[in-house]
Point group: C2
Chain length 115, copies 2
DNA sequence: TTTATATATCATCATATAATGATATGATGA
DNA sequence: TCATCATATCATTATATGATGATATATAAA
């Protein structure tokens, strides 16, 4: 099992290598999936899937602390998942990407089949 | 911003609440997306997307330590993403779920559009 | 029955990150 | 201007988790 033993199936190994995306793509994918890999962010996204909401109402709807919500919204903003719009004292958030709803629904499908 | 102030748009808050999946579903979703939220697992999955591989060859193809690969394979096995088949001293892994390839490709699509 | 090989597991360490309370910023109205 | 409200940011803490080396298990060959 060492580090420099001989490969068992050289052809398969080459095929595996050829199928790999670039390192940049792999890191991008990691970040993309990470967006959905947290219950707080999932809740926020499902909430925004229904309706545009200000931070205050997200806190109310999901029973979350304001700082928690703001932190996650910043993350979602920086990854281009949500967009914001200021109106007086309030900042309204909504989904910024048409795919997001699709990604969420696909996930739901998966977990429902795996039961 | 306190904890028990009044809601700004009660109707929107109710809609947001109604759109939420069950707590169980949310936790399941978190786990599902977590599978793809790590570069090592992403690499393994793209490799297995092409061809069935034994642990040894996964290590070779991806330049990863054996213990690292085994750990992640265990995780992928336990979450029903990959299956294994023993043949002599070798254990061959392959994708256990038709969706997985779809999920990977959808992710690739997303990051390619977001550029 | 030794020895070698392939894989799995374990314990440890380092890192990443989510939650939280406190504080800062910025807008509105008195 | 001052007070209030909504949001953002910061620092801290706790937890989760990935990588790693060492070891255990299991199969096969010598």
């Amino acid at each position: 099992m060492g580090d420099d033993g001989k490969i068992i199936d050289a052809e398969a190994v080459q095929a595996a290598k050829d199928g790999l995306p670039s390192e940049y793509s792999i890191v991008s994918l990691e970040l993309f999936y990470k967006v959905f890999a947290d219950t707080t962010r999932i809740k926020i996204l499902f909430a925004l899937k229904e309706v545009e909401l200000c931070v205050y109402d997200i806190c109310a709807a999901l029973s979350l602390k304001q700082s928690t919500v703001s932190q996650q919204l910043r993350f979602l903003r920086q990854t281009g998942i949500v967009k914001s719009r200021q109106e007086g004292k309030n900042v309204y958030y909504s989904l910024d990407d048409d795919h997001i709803t699709g990604v969420l629904l696909m996930g739901l499908e998966h977990i429902n089949e795996k039961r």
